[in-house]
Amino acid sequence: MLEVKQLSKKFGKDVVVDIEHIKISRGTIYGLLGSNGAGKTTLLKMLSGIIKPTSGAITFEESPIYENRELKARVVFIPDQPFFFQHYSIKQLADFYREQYPSFDEARFLEFERIFKLDTKKKVHTFSKGMQRQVSFWLALSAQPDYLILDEPFDGLDAVVRKKIKNLIIRDVAERDMTVIISSHNLREVEDLCNYIGIIHKGKYVIDRDIDDLKTDVHKVQIAFKEIPDRLFKDFHVLHHETRGSVHMYIVKGELEDIKQSITLSNPILCDILPLTLEEIFVYEMEGIGYAMDHVLV
């Protein structure tokens, strides 16, 4: 389990990250969303033990990550621009990773060679950007980390590569209970992969939600009455309400059955309960706490 408490990071006088609390359980694929400059990369670098927080604590299974050799051997960070030593081939890089990460698995490395079909003796710098990205996953997953931290991993990748990489991630999560933290500025890019979403805006945590809960929890109700009953949805959390002519549109949080029951009691002329896309849920959720989604995400 990964836990962040009262974390803050200042660059000079600017507060770049200021987070009260995050908790990520093992086996989670956690999507960290935020626009450019929201503080995602800084947060991820702190989570990876690269930069030191100005204050606060980051713990993996109760131990702090910064300068912690044993723990860092179980964490791999892939930055938005993968870095490789100059003039290194995949094979040479694998030697380097093998020495650094004791859990590096030879069989997996060879298996990935069949999947990615890249020449291990060629210098990595001669590869295209997409290929380089694959190499970084190849090496990272061969190291069999318990925690994989990815900064904008799908930026600028084509659909095929994207799919391939997502599958590899999911397989590791399923097989080894790996925890993955993925940052992105685009919700649609990660919604099929993540089971938990956190949104960061101007260094502060705006919201974090379990996606499965969200999808079953939030409902769009289109409803019309002769006369609006006073007590409609009084016992529920209404995220949004708007009126178009005589038709009311409510976004309501709650169990579907309870909502249906409540509606039946109010005797509507017309009623329709619709599913919401993840994006819509976030738009309304954040509106509820005073943020406009299009300001927070691109």
Partner: protein, 644 residues
């Protein structure tokens, strides 16, 4: 051993080798080509003809200029390449995301750097030993020479490397690391020089002590480069200090590395707290450079202040540009305001001499001893070697010195130190053991005021300025008395008792010598030799009464001195500057009618007795012909010389 094996990262070392290994290989190739092949060549030639071999105990001289310069270039390059990752954000992120602590990473880089520098030197060292053993048939080069060269090179290379690593930790830009490595190496001397130079404007009388100069130079191997070329005997203490300082700097650098914010790659200065320090000290240095610039061109005081302001503004904005890495810094004026205020207060403080530095003359009862020194270089050299002789301590003498000092203060000029005048130092040793030293640069006019005091004839002055009074008589091993003109006569005295006796007489005579214009020349001089020391040279005059009497007593006079008996004749011609001191030219220019010729013993004796030491404009030329020698001794004499 297992601990080391688990700690040691082979692949990290491989990566370092790929980065910096070529430097090490290249370094060895250069050392091989210059020093090793150079030695082989020299020794082979020497085996054919030993006289061909020029022995220098310092091997650096054999290798020439290149190995010495590389001692300052290679370590910086190694540090630059090895710590480049700190200055590139992606590389820095990657390295620090690995499961290695900063200590592990640092040690891998440092150890690799040290080995990459030392290994070529070790290989050269071993090769030299082999070359020496196989080729040096005449034992021209000793193993000590080779060992000295090795330690000198290693200690210098390591200290430069450590300074460059230190700078790498402070900055996030490789170019700045390069530049500031050399600035740091030059800093002790550079800054002292600048400060002292500028203080001279404010405090006439400020002494630039040779000793201080001497000491500061040793603070950095860059300014101490003399040592590498000119070392005659190895200064082991310095080598050891260099090794220790290297270790200390590398240790401090590790703590900086631990504290260093990784995210500040690409920033000129990575520690926030250092930024204002950098800006103020950079501006301050530039201000002082302005003062020096003004001094170099001899500008007047108002222009000096203008230069201070111009240079401080330039320095201020350059430092801001470095810190912010942008041209757009001209809106920042607050810090300059503080600087300007502080400098103004400082300048006012110094100019109005709030500490009373300029006009301070210690009171008689505070003074233990006093010295007036007009040849500071010799004085400090002798003091450093022999220890100090007693100075003036008589109340009358001290009052005289105070009055000289007062005159010097009254005539002191803020810009005098820029000129080429003579320098006079007044040094007081006070009751509490402290020293008060003032130095004045004086023009001829002021020097004449000083000269009127006739200090040169004061016995005390003589004892602390004349080397004759510094040497230890019992250590001298030879006194040579020689005559001019190809050692027409010469005698060596090597008997220790005689030497001691003669030095004593020379000292007594020296103290009693009249003024120089009242002395009478002889054609003889004398040197006192002490092993390992510079010889003491004395021009004998006829006023060295006791010495001359002793020489006669010991029967040395006839052998050692040119006496009237030895002179064939003396020709006297009018002095002619254009003929220099060339006898043949004089003979050509004047025929025998124009020359006065004296060849009788009585006349010769008379002329020789009157042979005064020419102080004024020369009037006549004496051509003294010695027996059995064709070319005469030439002596010009002034008006004080008369033939009547």
């Amino acid at each position: 051993m297992r601990w080391i094996m688990s700690w040691y990262k082979k692949e990290l070392t491989k990566q370092n080798f790929r980065l910096a290994g070529w430097l090490s290989v290249g370094y060895f190739i250069v050392l091989f080509l210059t020093i090793i092949l150079g030695q082989i060549d020299l020794l082979t030639k020497a085996n054919e003809n030993p006289n061909d071999y020029h022995y220098y105990s310092d091997l650096m001289l054999h290798g020439g200029f290149i190995p010495a310069v590389l001692l300052f270039i290679m370590p910086t390059l190694a540090a630059l390449v090895l710590f480049r990752y700190l200055h590139k954000q992606d590389a820095s992120d990657f390295i620090h995301s690995l499961p290695s602590t900063r200590l592990t990473i640092y040690l891998h880089h440092i150890i690799f750097g040290v080995i990459s520098l030392v290994l070529p030197l070790v290989l050269t060292f071993v090769s030299l030993l082999v070359v020496d053993q196989t080729l040096d048939h005449h034992h021209l080069l000793s193993i000590t020479d080779i060992t000295n060269w090795f330690h000198l090179s290693v200690s210098t290379a390591l200290i430069v490397f450590s300074v460059s690593v230190f700078v790498a930790m402070l900055t996030g830009v490789t170019l700045i690391q390069l530049i500031f490595t050399y600035i740091f190496l030059f800093l002790p001397v550079g800054l002292t020089m600048l400060v002292v130079f500028n203080l001279n404007y404010a405090l006439p009388g400020l002494a630039i002590n040779y000793i201080i100069d001497d000491v500061i130079v040793h603070f950095s191997p860059l300014t101490d480069i003399n040592r590498i070329f000119m070392v005659s005997s190895m200064d082991w203490s310095k080598v050891i200090i260099y090794y220790i300082v290297t270790a200390v700097i590398l240790f401090i650098s590790y703590f900086l590395y631990k504290k260093r914010p990784i995210e500040s790659a690409n920033q000129a200065i990575v520690f926030e707290a250092l930024k204002p320090i950098f800006i103020y000290s950079f501006t301050f240095s530039f201000t002082l450079i302005g003062g020096m610039y003004s001094g170099a061109f001899g500008y007047s005081i108002p222009v000096l202040f203008l230069m201070y302001i111009i240079f401080s503004i330039i320095g201020y904005y350059i430092s801001q540009m470095i810190v912010d890495k942008t041209w757009r810094v001209f809106g920042k004026v607050k810090q300059y305001g503080f600087f300007f205020l502080a400098m103004t207060l400082l300048t006012i403080g110094f100019s109005f001499d709030i500490t009373g530095f300029v006009n301070h003359i210690p009171k008689i009862d505070e003074i233990e001893e006093a010295y007036v020194i007009d040849d500071q270089y010799s004085f400090y050299q002798r003091e450093a070697y022999y220890g100090r002789q007693a100075g003036f301590s008589d109340v009358d003498d001290l009052e005289m010195i105070q009055s000289i000092h007062q005159k010097l203060i009254d005539s002191a000029d803020r810009k005098a130190f820029l000129g080429y005048g003579r320098s006079i130092i007044i040094m007081y040793v006070l009751d509490d053991g402290s020293e008060l030293v003032r130095q004045y640069t004086v023009d001829d006019e002021v020097y004449n005021i000083f000269a009127q005091y006739n200090l040169q004839h004061h016995p005390i002055y003589k004892t602390y300025t004349d080397p004759l009074f510094y040497i230890t008589p019992s250590r001298a091993n030879k006194i040579e008395i020689m005559s001019e003109n190809y050692n027409y006569k010469s005698v060596s005295i090597t008997d220790r008792a005689m030497i001691v006796e003669l030095i004593q007489l020379l000292r007594e005579d020296t103290l009693q010598l009249p003024k120089i214009e009242d002395q009478h020349d002889m054609l003889n001089y004398l040197t006192i030799h002490t092993p390992g020391e510079q010889e003491v040279y004395i021009d004998l005059t006829q006023e060295f009464h006791q010495t001359l009497a002793w020489l006669s007593e010991q029967d040395f006079a006839k052998e050692a001195l040119i006496l009237p008996d030895d002179i064939l004749m003396i020709k006297v011609a009018p002095y002619n500057e254009e003929l220099y001191y060339d006898a043949i030219e004089y003979e050509k220019a004047y025929d025998d009618n124009e020359l006065l010729v004296y060849d009788d013993l009585a006349s010769i004796e008379k002329i020789m007795q009157r042979l005064s030491i020419s102080q004024e404009e020369p009037q006549r030329m004496l051509m003294i012909y010695l027996k059995e020698l064709s070319s005469p001794i030439m002596r010009s004499v002034d008006d004080n010389f008369s033939l009547d």
